[in-house]
């Protein structure tokens, strides 16, 4: 499929990278030649210099044959105009990145279809939602919701001396019952693997487990965490992500504090957020953090625009005794580094954006796709269509690719951990965990 990406920024680059890996024909359009050179030298995509709102440029990029148009520059209005300037056509999905909160206030008047856009995505808000879910499940480093939240995929680091430390999956399964909880992947020393029953869990392993909503706390207990309720959160920075997160906290009645260095932005936040405490100060100001009792907060979220600032302030917060810390990192090459120095929970805006976009680009049977931060793994949520040849076959007879696992079947909003004797039915949701090289093969198994 031909995919046009307008804007070669962080989001555009990352989406192009993932789509190119899946053998799509990607054309990246940007006005900045240097940026395009960088893209061209790193990715197997075509580039075109020009403005995304110029229809000649879009035509030259082959918009007539394209299946997807992604307008993901950092300017909302450019993205909208770009989508508006391309006439609607069957088989073309137009996606615009719009992150200004005011655009979502318009209700009916500002529905995407009025702009000739099929989908508005808001990476900043996606990231804030993801972070909020992470904060809610205190210990988790990753969290993805399926079937409206009934089924959750959680990423956890096994603590030393945890109940599962040193046990094989088979032993654990015998203890907790295999029907409610399934370990789908283990990440150790930067390698992701899909375990079988003989795999042994060790302390500091990063474990991805799929569980029903009410089993999530048990999963955390097994990895050595004690459950806690979220009441106070401190956020550093004045990014849009920080704004969305602060607003989410307000909506859930959680006490939020935002640290902002810039006086004008601090004022802007104070006007927009009614119940959040806005403090003017630097995120690395140890004295201020101590005075405001950061040690007594449940979580610290570093959401400034600079990765370095986020890392330093996260370290300061950890030093002052904050248990849960979420660090925003724009540069994905910092992710392994951050984990090595103990900042377990790092989030990346471009991965969030890529997740949001990829979910919708691979249309058809796919409901939801989640990409994990520093691994190549993806979780794909398929709908089993009526003419799928797999229907009725016993699962042990189905040949899944080596690096993929059928994690869960959701049937009538209930979660089923599949056994070899189970079979798929039409209308089921099949949640598959797969490493990147197995994704195309898995996708072929579930045609729309």
């Amino acid at each position: 499929m031909r995919i046009l990406i307008v804007g070669a920024g962080e989001v555009g680059y990352h989406v192009a990278e993932r789509l190119a890996k899946e053998h799509h024909d990607v054309v990246v359009i940007d006005v900045d030649r240097d940026r395009l050179d960088y893209v061209e030298s790193h990715l197997d995509v075509a580039v075109l210099e020009g403005s995304g709102v110029n229809s000649t440029v879009l035509e030259a990029a082959g918009v007539g044959r394209a299946g997807v148009l992604l307008a993901v520059t950092s300017v909302d209005e450019v993205n909208l105009v770009c989508c508006m300037s391309v006439p609607p056509r069957r088989g073309l999905t137009k996606v615009a990145r719009v992150s200004n909160p005011d655009f979502y206030r318009g209700g009916e008047a500002l529905r995407p279809s009025r702009f000739g856009v099929d989908l508005l995505i808001n990476p900043e808000r996606e990231l804030a939602l993801e972070t909020f879910a992470l904060l809610e499940s205190t210990a988790a480093t990753d969290l993805t919701l399926f079937a409206g939240g009934a089924v959750q995929l959680i990423g956890l680091t096994v603590l030393e001396g945890a109940p599962v430390d040193g046990k094989t999956l088979r032993e654990i399964g015998r203890r907790v019952g295999r029907r409610s909880l399934l370990t789908v992947a283990i990440e150790r020393d930067g390698e992701t693997m899909i375990p079988d029953g003989d795999a042994e869990l060790q302390a500091f392993d990063h474990v991805y487990a799929i569980a029903a909503e009410d089993e999530i706390t048990r999963a955390m207990e097994l990895c050595g965490y004690s459950p806690a309720k979220l009441t106070r959160v401190m956020i550093a920075g004045h990014s849009r992500e920080a704004f969305y997160l602060a607003r989410l906290l307000e909506q859930h009645g959680i006490e939020g504090t935002v640290l902002i260095a810039d006086p004008e932005m601090a004022h802007e936040f104070a006007v927009r957020l009614e119940r959040t405490l806005i403090l003017r100060g630097d995120a690395t100001d140890v004295e201020l953090l101590e005075f405001e009792g950061v040690g007594e907060t449940d979580a610290f979220v570093a959401f400034t625009d600079e990765d370095e600032m986020n890392i330093i302030s996260s370290l300061v917060a950890r030093d002052l005794g904050v248990k849960q810390i979420v660090t925003l990192l724009n540069r994905t090459d910092y992710l392994p580094l951050a984990r090595r120095i103990g900042l377990e929970t790092a989030v990346s805006p471009r991965i969030s954006a890529a997740n949001a976009i990829l979910q919708h680009v691979r249309r058809g049977s796919i409901q939801n796709v989640t990409v994990f931060k520093d691994s190549d793994a993806e979780v794909i949520d398929f709908i089993v269509s009526e003419d799928n040849p797999l229907i009725g076959q016993r699962l042990e007879d189905i040949q899944l690719p080596e690096h993929a696992i059928l994690a869960t079947i959701v049937r009538d909003a209930k979660m089923i951990i599949p056994q070899g004797s189970d079979a798929l039915q039409a209308g089921d949701e099949a949640i598959v965990f797969a490493l990147a090289d197995a994704v195309p093969a898995v996708t072929e198994l579930f045609p729309s």
């Binding site: 104070a270 009614e274 806005i278």
Partner: protein
């Protein structure tokens, strides 16, 4: 300051006073005082006409000119308003006449007359009319109906209308003024009809309806509202409360958005305050009298609504109530009605802003680096506005203190001085002590009455409009561009004729040599 333009608008306002006087004058002429009332009519009418005719037409006003017009206009209005009291022989004291006139136009409702029934009906009607015209504002009325003013109407409007901010219900200020006056007129009609249905005489109904909607307080009876039936008193309670509500909200209700009133934060504060103080007064009265009855509910809520809305009608002598109730009522005298209502006082919205700001300051002690925006009902208030409100508070307190000092120096006791000064400043009428609801201001000396008149005007116009008149720079002449010499104008006319079109007159002026 361009004097000719200012005088032009002032002339228009004087004519408006004359028009407002017509109903009272007609009544007076039928009573036989036709010469006196004719002179009363002619003074503002003739002066206004002369000023109006001798100065240029429709003008654009600057902010300074607007303030001067409102300040001078009000002084002129209350002066001409005092004339009927003197000419009809109602009183021979200039101070009394002036006090009564100021008390009328500022909707205070304090009177120097001991027995109201002795006054001629034409004078009674004139007192109520002055309330009614002063309530929504005679200048607002001028903006609404006289095609006098181009740009600058908004400045006139906000210099006269009380409250922290002026909100326009329509983009054009003249339309806004017209609609607000329309709502005011309609509500007066409704209340008047209600009074008629409940058995009040036509004359009394007209007077009381105008007085209540303006949050005035003049009555045609010495016993004020206490003369009438409980049903009439209940209706009055309701309408006194409503007159203390921002008329923009009434306009929204009339146009089918009644929910806006219930959602309005200032309204919620106002209602809560009326209910809470009524309840406390009820309990205090019940305890002191040893019996609780439904009649007490009426007495308590009547006085509270009357004081809170700054009307000043009376059914009970609250100066004889338990002290706790008296002190609470003093607090309400200070607070007054909502911004944009016909009521006076500090205004509920300002009270809310100050309260919120104080709470925010307490929070700032806990979090010295916090950036806190003062909010009322969730809506952010600009810091600049908060400072203005605080300055207004300081001004209010200071003026009250000076007023109390002067009254006490003139030989009044402390409670009387304190409450009379506040009752004048907040345009209530009755105070405590010797000026309680059962008493009147007739025993006060002329200097004391003039002091109170000044306080009433200051309170009604919210200080600044009058105080800028004292600043010399207000009166500096605006530099006018001199007209070009006649020769140039002739040349220009010819050039226009030659060009055979209507040229922009400024474009072809020859440049200065």
């Amino acid at each position: 300051m361009r004097y000719r333009e200012v005088l032009h608008v002032l002339g228009g306002l004087l004519m408006a006073v004359a028009v407002a006087m017509i109903p009272a004058a007609v009544l007076g002429m039928r009573e036989g005082m036709w010469l006196a009332w004719l002179v009363c009519l002619l003074i503002p009418g003739f002066m206004g006409l002369v000023l109006f005719a001798l100065t240029p037409g429709k003008v654009d006003l600057s902010a300074r000119e607007a303030l001067a017009i409102v300040g001078l206009g009000w002084i002129g209005i209350v002066l001409t308003g005092a004339v009927p009291f003197l000419l009809t022989g109602t009183t021979s004291s200039v101070a009394w006449a002036l006090f009564e006139s100021v008390s009328g136009f500022t909707t205070t409702g304090a009177t120097v007359f001991a027995v109201i029934e002795e006054l001629p009906p034409s004078i009674l009607l004139w007192r109520s009319l002055s309330h009614w015209v002063g309530g929504m504002g005679i200048i607002v009325l001028g903006v609404a109906i006289l095609p006098l003013i181009g740009v600058g109407g908004a400045q006139l409007f906000s210099a006269e209308a009380p409250g922290m901010t002026t909100d326009k219900v329509q983009p054009r200020i003249a339309t806004t003024a017209r609609l607000l006056w329309g709502v005011y007129f309609a509500m007066t009609l409704i209340l008047g009809s209600a009074y008629l249905i409940l058995g009040m005489s036509f004359f009394d109904a007209v007077n009381h309806a105008m007085s209540a909607l303006a949050t005035g307080g003049f009555s045609t009876r010495t016993a004020s509202m206490g003369y009438y039936s409980p049903a009439i008193q209940w209706v009055t309670i309701l309408f006194m409360f409503l007159a203390g509500v921002n008329f923009t909200l009434h306009y929204r209700t009339f146009t089918g958005h009644p929910r806006e009133m219930f959602r309005n934060a200032e309204w919620q504060w106002y209602l809560a305050s009326v209910l809470a103080v009524s309840a406390i007064c009820f309990v205090a009265l019940g305890v002191s009298e040893g019996a609780f009855s439904f009649e007490l509910v009426r007495r308590a809520s009547f006085s509270v609504a009357s004081i809170h809305s700054t009307t000043g009608f009376g059914t009970a002598d609250f100066a004889a109530w338990p002290l706790v109730a008296q002190v609470l009522l003093l607090g309400l005298m200070f607070m007054g009605g909502m911004g944009g209502s016909t009521g006076g006082g500090f205004k509920v919205i300002r009270g809310a802003v100050v309260t919120q700001h104080v709470l925010d300051e307490i929070r700032k002690v806990l979090h010295p680096r916090a950036v806190i925006i003062t909010r009322v009902g969730g809506k952010p208030i600009r810091e600049e506005l908060v400072l203005k409100v605080l300055a207004f508070l300081a001004m209010y307190m200071a003026t009250h203190a000076v007023g109390t000092l002067i009254l006490a120096t003139l030989g009044n006791d402390l409670v009387t001085s304190l409450s009379a000064s506040l009752a004048a400043l907040s345009s209530i009428g009755p105070g405590l002590g010797e000026v309680g609801p059962a008493a009147h201001y007739g025993h006060m000396s002329a200097p004391a009455l003039l002091t109170l008149s000044a306080l009433m005007l200051l309170g009604r116009l919210e200080f600044y409009t009058l105080l800028v008149l004292l600043i010399p720079s207000t009166w500096t002449r605006t530099h006018r561009t001199p007209r070009p010499p006649r020769v140039w104008r002739r040349q220009h006319r010819r050039a226009v004729v030659r060009a055979g079109r209507k040229a922009d007159p400024m474009s072809s002026w020859p440049s200065h040599p």
